[in-house]
C-alpha cells in the first residue's frame, strides 16, 4: 500500500464527506450497526485509494459497494430494497468483468502489482479489451450515461447521511480507479476508446441537467444534477490531457463536497415542508430565510458559479477537453445552461411563492455545522484551486497520447 498525491487529496475528501454524513445522521435506529457500516464504507474507500495491488483495490471497491447497499437496505426509506438491489446489480456486473480482467492479467503477467504492471505495459494493440473490462466496473460508479439508472432510485431511497456517500465515496473511488488503473496501465487502449467515451460523457453532461429539471422529487433532481456533473469528470478523464486530469481530480473533490451539501440542504427543506416533492412544498424563503439562503448557495455551488470550486474545476476540465475535442467541449459547455435551469426550477419551486406552511423552524445548529464548513471549503478551493492542482505534479498523472 502507498499513498500518492492524488490518492491523498481524494482520501481527505472522502474523510470530509464521511464526517458531514455522520454529522447529518439523526434519529437512526440501531446506531451501532449504522455507524459501523459508515466506518466500513470509509475504510473500504481508503483501502482502494491506498492500494498498490489490483486485488486489494478490488476488495476495497467491492466492500464499499456492499457497505453502501447495506446502509440503504437497512436505513433507507421508500423503495429501499429495490434501490439497494439496483446498486448491487449494476455494481456487481461491472465487478464481474473486473474479476475477469484481473484473472487474465494475473495469468499473463504473474503479478497484480500496479507499479510493476505500469513499468512493463501490455502491448498497445492488446490494451483495449482490459481497459474496457476495468472501465465497466467504474462507469456505473461514475453514474455515466447510460449506466446511471441506479442513481436516482438510490438517492430517492437514501437519507442524506447515506446518500452523501454516493458522490463522496463511490464516485471518488470510481474516478480514482479510472485514473490509476485504466489510464495508468492501459493508456493506448483508453486512447483508442476515447472518442465514443467522450461522446457518452458529453451527452451525459446535458442529459442529466435536462432530465433533472423535470423532476418533482428534490432528491432525484439532485441525483440527475450529479449525473451531469460526474459526466464532466468522465469527460476530463477520457480526454486525458495533463490539464484535464488535474481538472478531473478537482472536479471529484468539488462534486463530492457540493453534492453532499446539496443533499443535506434538500433534506433540511423536506424536514420543514414534510415532503421531498416540489409540488407539495414552496414558499420556504418567507418562513425560513436562513435555510433558504444556505440551500440557494449550495445549489449554486453545485452548478459551478464563480467563487465555487465547481467553477474552477469546470473551466479547467473544458479547457483540457478543448485541446483534443473542441466540439465536445463546446457542446458540454451547454451543460452550464441546462444546469442553471435545473437549479433555478428547484429553487423557484422550493423557496419562492406563498408558503404552504404557516411557520417553519429556521436552520438548527446541526444543519449549520454541516453546511457552513462545506460551503467555506468550496469557496476556499474556488478562490485558490492551486491548493489542490499544485499538489498533482505531472509525474503523478498518467501520460496519455492523443489519438490519431
Amino acid at each position: 500500500m502507498a499513498l500518492d498525491p492524488v490518492g491523498a487529496i481524494l482520501l481527505a475528501t472522502c474523510g470530509a464527506v464521511s464526517l458531514a454524513a455522520v454529522a447529518t445522521s439523526r434519529r437512526v435506529g440501531d446506531r451501532r450497526a449504522y455507524f459501523a457500516l459508515h466506518c466500513a464504507a470509509l475504510a473500504s474507500a481508503a483501502t482502494a485509494l491506498v492500494a498498490r495491488d489490483l486485488a486489494v483495490f478490488f476488495v476495497g471497491w467491492e466492500s464499499l459497494l456492499l457497505a453502501i447497499a447495506m446502509l440503504i437496505r437497512g436505513w433507507g426509506v421508500g423503495d429501499k430494497r429495490g434501490a439497494s438491489l439496483r446498486l448491487l446489480v449494476h455494481g456487481l456486473i461491472g465487478s464481474g468483468l473486473f474479476l475477469v480482467a484481473l484473472a487474465s492479467i494475473a495469468e499473463a503477467r504473474g503479478t497484480l502489482d500496479i507499479d510493476a504492471l505500469a513499468a512493463r505495459p501490455i502491448a498497445p494493440n492488446g490494451q483495449l479489451l482490459p481497459a474496457i473490462l476495468f472501465l465497466a466496473a467504474f462507469l456505473p460508479g461514475l453514474a455515466l450515461f447510460p449506466f446511471h439508472a441506479w442513481s436516482a432510485r438510490v438517492h430517492a431511497a437514501a437519507p442524506a447521511g447515506i446518500g452523501a456517500l454516493v458522490p463522496g465515496l463511490l464516485a471518488v473511488v470510481a474516478g480514482y480507479g479510472t485514473l490509476r488503473i485504466c489510464l495508468g496501465l492501459f493508456p493506448q487502449g483508453m486512447t483508442a476508446a476515447a472518442p465514443p467515451l467522450v461522446a457518452l460523457a458529453t451527452v451525459g453532461a446535458l442529459y442529466g441537467a435536462i432530465v433533472g429539471a423535470r423532476q418533482d422529487d428534490m432528491r432525484r433532481a439532485i441525483a440527475f444534477l450529479a449525473v451531469s456533473q460526474q459526466s464532466l469528470v468522465a469527460l476530463a478523464l477520457f480526454v486525458a490531457t495533463p490539464t484535464s486530469l488535474r481538472a478531473a481530480v478537482l472536479l471529484l473533490v468539488a462534486n463530492a463536497l457540493a453534492m453532499c451539501a446539496a443533499l443535506v440542504a434538500v433534506e433540511a427543506i423536506a424536514r420543514r415542508t414534510s415532503s421531498f416533492l416540489l409540488s407539495r412544498g414552496g414558499g420556504l424563503g418567507a418562513t425560513a430565510p436562513e435555510i433558504s439562503a444556505l440551500a440557494t448557495l449550495t445549489t449554486l455551488a453545485a452548478i459551478g458559479v464563480p467563487g465555487s470550486a465547481g467553477f474552477a474545476a469546470l473551466v479547467l476540465a473544458l479547457a483540457g477537453a478543448y485541446e483534443r475535442y473542441p466540439v465536445a467541449a463546446a457542446v458540454a459547455s451547454l451543460g452550464l445552461v441546462f444546469g442553471a435551469a435545473c437549479a433555478a426550477l428547484l429553487l423557484r419551486r422550493a423557496i419562492h411563492g406563498a408558503p404552504l406552511i404557516s411557520a417553519s423552524r429556521d436552520a438548527d445548529w446541526r444543519e449549520r455545522l454541516v453546511l457552513v464548513p462545506l460551503l467555506a471549503a468550496l469557496l476556499a478551493i474556488g478562490v485558490a484551486p492551486r491548493l489542490i492542482t499544485d499538489r498533482v505534479a505531472d509525474g503523478a498523472l498518467p501520460a496519455v497520447e492523443a489519438g490519431p
Binding site: 418567507a286 458559479v305 464563480p306 479547467l316 479547457a319 452550464l336 433555478a344 419562492h352 406563498a354 499544485d390
Partner: protein
C-alpha cells in the same frame, strides 16, 4: 494594493451583511451596503487620477489562479476602464441610497449583498488582466442580476424573473467560455494584453482567422444576450414591476456590462464581427423603440433602445464611452425617480433624480448629438490614414483623450492664422480645408463605395440620426 481595495471593500461589505445581517438593524445594513460602493467610487477616482498622471500603480497582481497559461488574479487599470468604473460605483451608490427607504425589510439584506457583489464583479470585469478572470467576473455579474431579479420570496413574478435571468446569464457564460477556450487554443495564453499584442504584430493564417472569427461571434453573442439585443430582448425583466432600486440596478448596472465586455475585448474581436454587432445594435434599437409604442413594458423597451443605440456606436472611440455612461446615468435616474413615497436622504436623491429625469429627452439628444459629432470628426480624421490590417481599437480611440483628429487640428490652425495674420494665404488654406471636408462628407454619404470602414461609419451615422429623430419626435 489600492486596486485590490476597489474590489475588496464591496466584497467585504457583502460578506458582513450576509453573515451578520440577521443581527443588524435595517439602517445599519443600508449604511454598510451604501458605504461600500461610495468608498469604491473614491478609490476609483484616485486610481483614474494616478492613471492619467502616470504616477500611481495601475496593476495589482495577486498571483496565479488556475494552472492555465496567462491565468492569474491580475487587475489592470487604464484610462478607458476607469471612467466606466467611476460611473458604475457612482450609480451603485445612488441606488443604494434610494434603497434605504424603498426596499422592504425582508429583502434589504439580499438586495445589498447582491448590489455590493455586483459592484465588485463589474469592477473586476473592467480591470481583469486575463480572459478567465474576466469570465468569472462576467458570470458573477449575471448571478447577481438573477439575485436582484428574484427580489421577493413571496412573489411569483420575482421567481420567474430570477429564473429566466439566471438561465440567460448562464447562456452568456457558456458563449464567453467557448470564446475564451478558442482564444486559449489559438494564442496559447489567456492574458488579454498578450493576445492584443500578438494580433497587432502578426498576420494570422486563414485557418486562424476563421477560428478568431468564431471566437469573436461567441463574444458578441454573450454580449448581445446580456444587453438584451434582438432576439434576446424577451428575457429583460420589466422594471415597472420591481422596486425602483432593483429595476435601476438591473437596467443601469447589469445590462450595460454586455457593452463593457465588447469594449474590453474590442482589440480582439474581429472587425467584420464588430460591424455585425453595430448593425445588430442599430436594428435592435429601432425595433425596441417601435415596440415601446403602445406596449405596457415601456421602461424595458426604452432600456433596450438606449443600449442598442450605444452598441450601434461601437467603433466611435470616445463617443461610445460618452454614450454608454450617459445611458447608464439616465436610465438609473429615470428608474429611481419612479419612487416618490420616500423621505430623508433617499427623498433628496429621488427628487434630484426626478429633476434630471425630466430632462432625459434633451440629455439623451445632447449625448447623441455629441456622439454624432465625434463620429463625423473621427471619420473625417481617419479618412487620410491608410487602413491597417487590423482596425484601430475602440478602446484605443478612447484612450487618446488628448489627441485630436487631423481635420480639427487643421481647422484650429487655420482659425489661429486668421486671427493672427489674416491674408490671402490664410483664406486660401481655409478654402482648401473646407473643400476637403466637403469631399470627405460626400465620400461618407457614398458609404459603400469606400469599402468596409465606410460601411461601418455610415451605419453608425444612420443609426445615430435615427435615434436622435426618434427621441425628438417622442
Amino acid at each position: 494594493m489600492t486596486l485590490v481595495l476597489v474590489v475588496a471593500v464591496p466584497l467585504a461589505a457583502a460578506f458582513v451583511i450576509l453573515v451578520a445581517g440577521g443581527h443588524l438593524r435595517r439602517g445599519a445594513i443600508g449604511a454598510i451596503g451604501a458605504a461600500a460602493p461610495a468608498f469604491a467610487f473614491g478609490i476609483s477616482a484616485a486610481t483614474l487620477q494616478a492613471v492619467a498622471t502616470g504616477t500611481g500603480a495601475v496593476l495589482a497582481d495577486l498571483g496565479p489562479w488556475l494552472p492555465l497559461r496567462g491565468s492569474g488574479l491580475v487587475l489592470r487599470a487604464d484610462a478607458a476602464a476607469m471612467p466606466l468604473a467611476l460611473a458604475c460605483t457612482a450609480i451603485a451608490t445612488l441606488i443604494a441610497v434610494v434603497a434605504f427607504a424603498s426596499v422592504p425589510r425582508d429583502g434589504a439584506r439580499r438586495f445589498y449583498v447582491a448590489l455590493d457583489v455586483l459592484v465588485a464583479a463589474t469592477l473586476v470585469l473592467l480591470m481583469a488582466g486575463d480572459l478567465l478572470l474576466l469570465l468569472a467576473a462576467w458570470s458573477a455579474v449575471g448571478v447577481c442580476g438573477a439575485f436582484l431579479a428574484g427580489r421577493a420570496a413571496r412573489s411569483a413574478d420575482a421567481a420567474r424573473d430570477g429564473m429566466v435571468s439566471l438561465v440567460m446569464a448562464r447562456l452568456g457564460d457558456a458563449s464567453l467560455l467557448v470564446a475564451s477556450l478558442g482564444l486559449l487554443a489559438l494564442f496559447q495564453t489567456l492574458d488579454i494584453e498578450q493576445i492584443e499584442t500578438r494580433l497587432a504584430t502578426i498576420l494570422l493564417a486563414p485557418s486562424a482567422e476563421r477560428a478568431l472569427g468564431v471566437a469573436s461571434i461567441f463574444i458578441v453573442a454573450a454580449a448581445a444576450s446580456r444587453v438584451g439585443l434582438a432576439p434576446f430582448s424577451a428575457w429583460l425583466g420589466d422594471p415597472a414591476r420591481m422596486p425602483a432600486p432593483v429595476g435601476a440596478a438591473l437596467h443601469a448596472l447589469v445590462l450595460p456590462t454586455g457593452i463593457a465586455l465588447v469594449l474590453r475585448l474590442a482589440e480582439i474581436v474581429r472587425y467584420d464581427v464588430l460591424v455585425l454587432a453595430v448593425a445588430l445594435g442599430g436594428a435592435s434599437a429601432l425595433l425596441a423603440a417601435a415596440a415601446s409604442l403602445g406596449s405596457s413594458r415601456v421602461e424595458t423597451w426604452r432600456t433596450a433602445a438606449v443600449l442598442g443605440g450605444v452598441v450601434a456606436a461601437l467603433g466611435a472611440g470616445p463617443a461610445t464611452l460618452v454614450l454608454l455612461i450617459a445611458a447608464m446615468f439616465v436610465r438609473a435616474v429615470s428608474l429611481l425617480a419612479r419612487r416618490r413615497d420616500v423621505s430623508g436622504l433617499s427623498a433628496a436623491v429621488v427628487i434630484a433624480a426626478a429633476g434630471v429625469a425630466s430632462m432625459e429627452r434633451p440629455v439623451i439628444a445632447a449625448a447623441l448629438g455629441i456622439a454624432a459629432a465625434l463620429v463625423v470628426l473621427g471619420a473625417v480624421g481617419t479618412s487620410r490614414i491608410a487602413l491597417a490590417p487590423r482596425v484601430s481599437s475602440v478602446m484605443g480611440g478612447a484612450t487618446r483623450l488628448d489627441g485630436l483628429p487631423p481635420l480639427v487640428g487643421r481647422v484650429w490652425h487655420t482659425t489661429t492664422l486668421l486671427a493672427d495674420r489674416g491674408g490671402e494665404a490664410v483664406i486660401d488654406r481655409a478654402l482648401r480645408t473646407v473643400t476637403a471636408l466637403l469631399e470627405t462628407i460626400g465620400r461618407a454619404m457614398g458609404g459603400l463605395e469606400a469599402g468596409p470602414k465606410w460601411t461601418h461609419q455610415t451605419l453608425l451615422v444612420a443609426a445615430t440620426a435615427a435615434l436622435v429623430a426618434y427621441w425628438i419626435a417622442r
